[in-house]
Every structure is written in C-alpha cells, then in structure tokens.
Symmetry: C4
Subunit: 375 residues, 4 copies
C-alpha cells in the first residue's frame, strides 16, 4: 500500500475513484451475445448482476416487480414512504413539485411521519405476490424492532443498510444490534453494509452475511464528504473489500461472501469498472430514477436527504429518458452511458475479451485521471 505523507506524523493511502481508472482490452475479443452476466447469491439466481437501491425515488412495489421480471433485484426501503403512508403517491407527486430552497425542509416533514408496522408486511407481500425475488431493507437501528415482521411476510433477501454499518457498534444507551448473533439465527440470506475497508468488511463477513455492500451508498446527490469529511473513493473500496472476500474465503474454509459495489455509480462505464475492481454485483440507484415508471417522477433522493438534524444530500433533478426495460436492456437512444446498462456491460466484457463476470474481475486496468468520462 502506497502511504503518502500528508504532514509529519500523519500519512494516508492514495485512494482511487472509478473515474480515475480505465479498462484495458486483452489480446482477445468476443461476441457480446456469448458473454454471460448471470449472478447467483445464495439460492437466488439472477440474469443480471444488478441490485436496485432502496430509495423511494426508484423502488416502489410496482417497479420492484418489474425490475425482478427484467432479471434484476430491487430492494424496497422499509423506512421510506411506502411504510409511512398508506398511499404515498400524492406525496411523491408533491416532492416532484417542490421548489429548491424549501425542498429539504418539506422532505424532513414528510419523512417525520412514523413507520406503520402493518405496512411493512403488506409491501413485502405485494412484491412477493408477483412471483419475483423479494428483498427489503432496514437500517441497523430499526432491525431489532421490525425484523420479525419482515421475515414473517416472507422476504427472500434481507438487506441491512446504512452509510456505515459495523459489526461492532458501541452504544451505552440501548442494546445495540449484535449482527453476528442476529444474522446466524436468521433463515434468510442477509446483505449488509456499507463499509469501506478491508478490516470492516472482514468483520461483516464473519457475521455470516451472504453479501457485503462496499461503499457508503448515498444517492448521486449525496454530500457525505462535505458534511462529515468521510470519503473513500470507490475503486479502492471495492478492491479492498474484494480482497477481504478472498481472505475470508480462506479463513472460513470456503464461504464466498458476495461483494456488492454500492455508491455513486451513474453510468454503465461505472458498472463495468466496479466489476473490474472485484465486485460480484452492483447496487445502483440514480439511473433508474430516470425511468418513465420511476416513483420519483424525474427526481432522485436518498434517505440521507431527509435526515431531521443533519441532511447530507439533496433531491436532484435527473429527468426521464426511457422505460425501465430500455435502461436495463436497450435499445439506447442516448450516448452517455445511462441507457442499456446491461448491454454495455456485455459489450465491454466482449471488447475486453472476457466471457463471464468472475473472469472479468481480472481485466487489466490503467490509472488515468485524464480519461474521466465525458457525457
């Protein structure tokens, strides 16, 4: 690891963003049609290595079902509008009409409505009823309180997601969530995160999780770096967490914990680079906020945008560019990497000469700040 001296007595490692790297084709090329991008976690097999973020602007019961039918996995946020309101549609419509200066204040008010336990079960059942794999998210703070309802409703994959989730939360006030005990006792596979380092990831893997979120998540408008100063660029995060996967594989005698890159990926090129750094799958939000079916109606925000005390993100206008199917599978009518995400992944792998995701994790990369993508 390259340690850089910041000043006497304080050094840091140079860390890289996905924007700073580029993929290098090998000496082979392939037909895109012959490339497999299938992904399997636990007993669940997906045609696509794509998990859609638990964000109200993107995942509603209806879009979760449609994304499932298109080959991906959508995660519904059990602490969002769908469990706070019987019918969130009028509120989603209102959010899309808010004027800028007051938007944060109104978001804070809308999300101050308490969560209704009965809605948790109902939302899961709505998705499950359509026959697609059902995934739902709670924060670590609310997992203890609501997880039974979630399990009883028949969730397939349980997602515990916060900006930073550690296997060792220290709290003097309440009994904190003991992730290790909790996950081992649960019957369903758990995906947990975010985390940003080899050590933190290794500890999460030891809890028995099926997958770990690498990164801090956050909508594309998040401002964690400005507000908290916390920032680790994604290329380095993914590579470090993937290294933890290899180390844990050895330590555990063969348990393969999936690494899901989670944070700031908005273009298909970001997705291909995430896999190149070692991700098994990606968790993506904002590209789907641009779908005609998106609940956000052309706007996008994450849960950090309505924090009552310290919002760390904004509602951003992303516009509407096509259907969910087009955004996933094309045909694309734009050239900026926001449509036909999966076709782009296939073509990138074919151009570089790889035939499946596991192989593609080994593609050569260059560090090239100058080739920060346009568009």
């Amino acid at each position: 690891m390259t340690q850089v001296e910041i000043g006497r007595g304080k050094s840091g490692r140079r860390a890289y963003s996905l924007d700073e790297i580029g993929l290098v084709p090998s000496r082979r090329t392939r037909d895109p049609e012959e490339v497999s991008i299938a992904w399997q976690i636990d007993a669940y097999r997906f045609e696509l290595p794509l998990v859609v973020c638990p964000m109200d602007s993107v995942v509603s019961p209806r879009t979760a079902i449609e994304i499932g039918r298109l080959g991906g996995l959508a995660v519904i946020d059990l602490e969002g509008l769908w469990t706070r309101y019987e019918d969130p549609e009028p509120l989603l419509a209102e959010i899309a009409e808010l004027d800028e200066p007051a938007a944060t204040l109104r978001l804070q008010a809308i999300y101050s409505e308490p969560i209704k336990e009965e809605l948790i079960g109902r939302r899961i059942e709505e998705i499950r009823g359509a026959g697609v794999t059902t995934a739902a998210r709670l924060s670590p703070q609310r997992t203890v309180r609501y997880y039974k309802t979630v399990i009883d409703a028949g969730v397939d994959i349980f997602v515990i997601r916060g900006t930073t989730v550690s296997a060792e939360h220290v709290s003097g006030q309440a009994e904190p969530l003991n992730l290790k005990r909790f996950i081992y006792e649960l019957d369903v596979p758990v995906i947990v995160g975010g985390c940003a380092t080899h050590t933190a990831a290794l500890h999460l893997m030891r809890t028995g999780a099926a997958g770990v979120l690498a990164g801090f998540g956050g909508g594309s408008g998040h401002t964690t770096a400005a507000v908290l100063g916390v920032a680790v660029p994604m290329a380095t995060v993914i590579a470090d967490v993937a290294a933890a996967r290899r180390d844990y594989l050895d330590e555990s005698g063969g348990r393969y914990v999936h690494v899901l890159a989670d944070g700031g990926m908005t273009r298909s090129g970001d997705i291909t680079k995430a896999v190149a750094c070692g991700a098994d799958a990606v968790m993506v939000g904002s590209p789907f906020a641009r779908a005609a079916q998106a609940p956000g109606r052309g706007y996008h925000w994450g849960s950090e945008a309505h924090h009552p005390e310290l919002p760390r993100g904004a509602r951003v206008k992303v516009g509407t560019i096509g259907t969910l199917e087009q955004i996933l599978h094309g045909p694309s009518t734009v050239a900026d990497g926001s449509m036909n995400l999966m076709g782009a992944l296939r073509r990138s792998m074919a151009t570089a000469g790889y035939s499946d995701l596991k192989e593609f994790q080994r593609v050569e990369v260059v560090v090239a700040p100058s080739s920060r993508p346009r568009g």
Copy 2:
C-alpha cells in the same frame, strides 16, 4: 518527507489541502450522543472545539456573547470597526450595500479611521459583562501599544494574530515585539499565529503560548496565493504543527500547546478533517457570516481585504441561512455542510468509531483528490 524535484537544484515537498483527503471509518461505530467534543485550553473549558475568527463580518460584542452561550469562543478584533467607531452599525449596513468595483476602495477608506483606545476596553467589558469567556485579538504590530488596555479590561484569552507571526521578527526601525518576553510576563493565556511549518510553530510554542494558530487564516475570499505566492495547504500545515506540539511536549517536559487550525474551513467536513490531521480546535469564520445575527449582513471579509496598499481579499457575498444556534447545533435544513457544524462533527466521529477529539486525531485518512466535496 517526500521531496519532489521541481527543477535542477530546486525541490519542494508535496503538500496537501483538506479537500484532497477523506476520513476512513474504523471497524467500530458509535452513537453520536455518546461522543464528546469538549475542549479545554488553560483553565477554560468549552463544550465545543470552536473558536470564531476575529472578523468584523462575524464577531460583534453581541454575537461574541451569543457564541459563548452556545458553547464556543468568539474573538473580537480590536483593530476592526468596533474600536474605530463608537457605533459601527451604519458602516456595516453601508458595506453590505456597496457595489462590487468600488467595494475595496470604500473598505480602505472606512478602515482608515484611527483606533480609539477607550473603545478597546469598552468592547471587552461589554462581552465580559455577559459572563462568557472573553477573547480579543491584536496584530503583532499593535500588541506592544495596546496590550495593557486589553489586560486591564479583563480579557480572559489574548489572541495575537497576523497572516504570519514569527517568534523572530527582524526590524531596524522600531523595537519589535519580543514574543517570548511578552508572553511569559503576561498573566492571561495567549493564542498566537498563524504559522505554517514545524519550525515556526516550535518557535512560537517556546514563547509560552497556550495555543498556536496553524495556517494563515484569511477570510474565505482571501487571495494570498495570487498576491504573495505564499501558500501551504492546510492538511499538511496542521499535521506539521501537531508534530511540533508533540516535539515540544517532550522538549518542555510536558507542556501541551494547543493547535488551532485557522484558514479556509467553510464546511463541517473541513472541521472534521482538521481534527483528523491533529488540530485540538478550529478557528472558523465564514460559516458564521451566514448567520441571521452576523454583523456582516450576508457579506464576509477579513482584515486583509482593506489593507491600504495591498489588499489581499475581497468582500464576498455568503448569504444568510439560519441562526447562530442552527449553524452550530442544527437542525440543519441544507445539505452542504454549512449548518449544524457541531452535530456533523459528532456524527463523523461516531460513524468513524471514535469517542473524543484526542482519539479522533488518530483516525485513518486517505489521499483522494477525486473526492473533493461537492456542495
């Protein structure tokens, strides 16, 4: 230290700004409520590690009192409008109305009014009368002339602040301030600076100062780099001065001189990074110019902006976003790191897994130019 060859025979060290680094969470997390951000210098204990800059756009007797009551420490500038004018309010109002091209010229004229010695005492007494810790600033050039008045008025903490203050000022014209003699003879604790290097800081520490300002200060609109070419980025400055603190602690057999980061910090993320680099507290200006109570009425300027011969800063429009209390303690209604500064510091420490400021100085950082904060 990484020496970079600029050309044959001229090398320099690579130095880093706070924008180029990011904090890395450890494998633990904590509850923000259980984090302590208290700070003590000499006999004075503060709930917050926050000193507000001696700038007329920010600190008046009234705001000094309010900041004190909110847990921080405000420093009044004894060479600003409050000691030049009986009633500066009309001038503050006028400054906020100035049109751009002529603003510098008019500032120069307003500040050409002589300092009135009787006002020095009166301003200190106004603040002291409210029962909060009282701090006041003079430049090194005027310290000899006015310090008795300052002491007699009952100041608690004496601040000697210039762009660069050295323990060894060479002058053939007048008897220069002998900092070492001066500070040792004084009964009140002195905070002195700025300085930018390990050596300069060590010399200032040997004067007996209670605290040293690390950085060149300067309002957020300062142009020292463009005008003088003098520039050392803050992450490196803080880390170097913190190293001087450790070296002096050893050399002096246990005297702990506080390091106050002073310069260009405008967002809460800058404050968390300053502590991560080794600061004990931060001296901050511009975020408070955005308070409803700020004397600057939405404008901000430092003393370098009205230098009669060589202004090195501008009056910048910063707008008004909330009350002093909100800016310090929230709740925040914006997402750019300019509100709830202390809540953000607590949360950053909790996310990273640390429970007090001294521990948090050891948090891991990455060098990540790509994650220059947005917003």
Copy 3:
C-alpha cells in the same frame, strides 16, 4: 512500468494522455522549410504523415480525392452512407439540420438502411479514377463478406478498423475472421486496428499488416469511457504500440510495421505529440469536419454514434473554418491549432531541432498536467 496500487489485490499502470505531456526543444533549432514530413508505407509515398478517418462527416469520394491531391490519404468508410445510399447528399443535409434530442434516434434510422454491394465497388472506382491512392475501410465483422468486391474494385490500401480489433476473436456462432490467414493471402497492404496495448499490437503485427492503428479511434464526441469504461490514454497507447513495432522488427528480422495514432486528436499540437510518442503517421477526423468541403456541413460523428443498440458518441457541431487546403497547409487565420496542421508539425519539428519524422520520435517530452492546452 509504474504499477499503482488501486486497492489490495488490484493494481494498474499510470497511463498518460497527450494533454498531459509537452515537447521540449533540443539545443538546436532549424528552418521549418528544411524539415521533411514525408511518409511512406509499403509502396505508397505521401508528402504528409496524415490519414483521414473513415467517417461520413469527413470523407466522401470527392473529399478523398482532394485530400489525396493535397498530399494526404483519406479512407472511405464502406459501411457508411456512401454504400447504403445511391445519393447520400440529401441525408447528409438532413443530419446537419437535426435537433439535438432526436438526433441519435434519426441517425440510427438512417444507418439502418442495408449496405449495397454494388456501391462498394463504385465508390472505390470513383476515387481511384481520379488517380489518387485509394483506401477503404470495413469492420472486422463484414470483411469476410465484402473484401473480394473491395479488392476487385482496385483498392490500394485496405483498412480493417473497429473500436478494438484483436488477432484472436472468439466466436461460437460464425466462422470469425482469421486475420492472419486473411492478410497474408491478400495482395494489398492492410492497416488494422484499433488496439491499445503492446501485446495486442504485437499480435496484430504478426498477421502481416502493413500498419496498425494505435488507439480506439472514435469521433471527438465519442463516449466509450462513459459507456464501456474502456479507456487507455493516447500517449501511453502510442508509446506501447511503438515499442511493439521495435520488438516485432527484431522478432521478424526486419519487418517495419507502421504505427498510426488513431483517436481524439483535434489540434496540431496533438499530432506533434503523437509523433513524439512514436507514431509514424496519424489518423485524424474532426479537424477535417470543419472544412468547407466536408460532407458533414459543420457536424461530425463516427460510426459509434449510430449503433442501433448502444450508441457511444454524439453528432457534435464543429463549425466550418476554412478550406481543406487551409486546414492542411494554411495560411491559418485562427490560433487554436485547428488550421495549418502540417505547417504546425513542420514548425514544431524545426523549433525542437529535428529534420524528419523518424528523428522527431525521439524528441524529449515532459509530463506536465498543468500545461493542458488552451484554445
């Protein structure tokens, strides 16, 4: 090679763009008139080391002839409008009138018209009939199907060009093009590419090609980095492929395969730097889209802009600045490096003290991100 650690277990080489380097004059200077920029590949000698890209916005039969008469070599695209339509002029006129949001969609429709085999021969004959060296391009996918027609029509130089062309294409569906067999059996010299690495270039050289395209090509509005994540900056690509040329020269006992830099060069300074990195000639598009005679009428696009499923480029407005002759040979009336490209090359070589292209490949360079050209 400098390997940079991106994260644990993933490293990459630092790669450089032409924008990041600058040429350093030697201790000699020369008269520009005494500099030779002649270039010879196989039996064909050109006054200029300049090949114009097979792009519909730039090369029509008419401009191919004119570029040939001016000393360069233009390559006609046999999969563009001129082989899909008897008379493409109305379509070219329409493309120049398209409004932005729908432009990609309409381009996709226009290019969905099938290629007419009889037009392939006719276009080649039109150029050949004028007595200039004739070059034409097919993609690897269509080479097997059409090459006989191309040869029969009397092409002088055969160009096989795709984003990435490998000597080892893996396909289970159809018999892929075996480049090695194909090129050795052909009577005319072949230029093939793009490629981006030493290894890929070496394999292409072993096919018997007369020239290799170094780079991924792409119009100046291409978005390969954003869509596929594939990106290797040009200075590094050219230097690596030039090294393959040297290695193959030794391996083959004396066969000199020409390296043509192909990608993103829009100013004369880019061309001089490409030669400095080791290119024998350059393949350039966008500067010629700015000619009064350009078929694109002030617009520019590459074949990647009309991909039916995954467009990776846009039609960009480049404007019209002068005649083809002025753009090549001046006099220039603009100062941004877009006119008198060959005069600039001569003057750069003279200023740096070199007298022919082969010598100029050895000119000293500096890595200087700060001197990214203006204009």
Copy 4:
C-alpha cells in the same frame, strides 16, 4: 530527476508550473520597508527586478520612458508597429475596436507592412532622449540585418528574443546568425532567449550573453501548447536555467549570467514564485497592458498572434485597472495580484523572512496543486 514512464520506451520528466507551487515562510519575518528588490545587470542598476516585454500592446516609446522612470526596464519591439508605421496610434486604436472572428486576419494584414529601417533608429533615440536605460528587441532572423542600426542609435541593452532561440541554428538557405561570434563582438550587453532547458541555456550562456530568457515568452493568450505541442511549465524551466547559471559560473570562472523568467506571469504571486525558483529578474507583459497608459487600450497581444501562416495566440481583452505607477507600486485597489506588483514582492519577501532577491531565491517551496490561486 524524476523520470516518469509514459509508455514502454518513452519516458519524460515531471515538470511543474508556477501555479503548482507555493512559498513557505521561514521562521523569521521582516519589515517590508527593509527589503531590497534592486537588480543590477552589467553596468545597469534598477530599483526593480522587472523588465517589460517587447509587445506593442504594452511598450511604446512613451510607456518605455515612464517605466524607466518608475524604476523598471521596458524593451521596445523593433519588429512591431513602431517600426512599421510612422504613426501607429490609429492602428492601435483600430485593433482595440476589432470584432472577434476577424481580429486575427486584420492583425495579420496590419503587421504585413514592411519594417522601415529609419524608424528603428528613431524609436531608440526617442527613448534614449528621455534619459532612461534603453532596451530594444529583434528576432534572431532579423538581427544580422538590423543590428548595426540598433547599435548606432545608442541602445543600452540589446534583446534577441524568439519563442525558442538556440545557440546552434541549422539552416541550409542563408547564413544563420552565429550568436557566439555576434555577441562577443558587440559592445552592448545582450539578453537572449527564450529557452527551456539546462542544456539550451548553458549554450546560450556560452555565447557571452549578459542575460538569458527562461521560458517561451508568449502573451497571456498564447497557444503554443495547442498549436505546436511544445510546452515546459515555468517553475521547472526557471529552476533548470538557474542551475545552468550556477554551472556556467563555475565553468567560466566567475561569469554570472542573469536569468530572466519570461512567460505567462500575470499576477504578483507569479513573480514572487519565479524568483523563488531562481530568477534574477522577470520579463512581464500582460499586467502592464492593463495600465491606463498602455498602447493596447485594454487589449493585449504578442507577436505570435499575427504570424502570417500560423498564428499562435489571440488578442485578449484585459481591461484597464489603473496607472502604470499603481500597477508597479500601488496603492492597489484590487485583490487579485494585478496591482502593486513590486509592493507585493517586497511583502512576500518580508513575510517569508528574506531581505534581498538573491537570498529569496532560496526560500522553501511546496508542491501544492490544490492551492492554484484564485482571482
């Protein structure tokens, strides 16, 4: 020297611009009034280390006289408007009125007027008549033809200036200027350049020159990097040429050749950094184009902007901000480093703790891309 591998077989040195460095104060400070910035070259002593560029937008006989009286040295361009036209004022007025697109074309036409030999003598005499040190410039190409006239008119300092001037110009057409013979035979001191490397500078020093121009000159709107690809950032150039000065001092047994930094310095901070890198004096243009007395009337251009075949610069609008005296000596009414250049130099030296220019060449610097000056 840090060699960076660009690609296999091509390496380059990392070179730095003045924008990438910052000056670091020492542990001393001084009074600005006690700092000396006097400069002496050959028998000529100046109060200021400042030479004003031979550019028509800046130096006329009238401004040359005024700059001389203010303590600096202005160089008149003997190939500019003042030797082509009896009365250039109407043309200067016209240039200031030109509309953008046609400006270059009209500049080319205006400067196509032949040089009148009788005007060369007359301009020199006009300046000399006022009693100030007189300096005049020719290009290497015209030096042989006109130098006698220049000497006869009584020039004090002879300046031979081109983008790149080498001691070894190779030409088959005409007898090139033999700098070594020419300079040794001349009675007046010669300043010659530009040059960008240690070797080229050393060769120029061996010609007997009194001073060498380090850099490529060029107005602030020059586009040499975009047009020719030639670019070496100034901090590295100055440090390398200063090293050649030291080496030549030893080689020659004590001849001290002055290094004049020449290129792209627009703010006072650039000037202080140039000295810090080793310059004895600076040659500056654009700041003086902003003077009320400037012939350019708020516009600025260099000779490269009207090259008949290959213009490499533009006429840029710089505006008018004050008198020549204010720009040199203040008082300044702006904060961006464009006024009171010499006061800023003094203050920078005082802040950093140095008392004369020779000492200040040793000031510590940091490499800090992040502190690229604002304003």
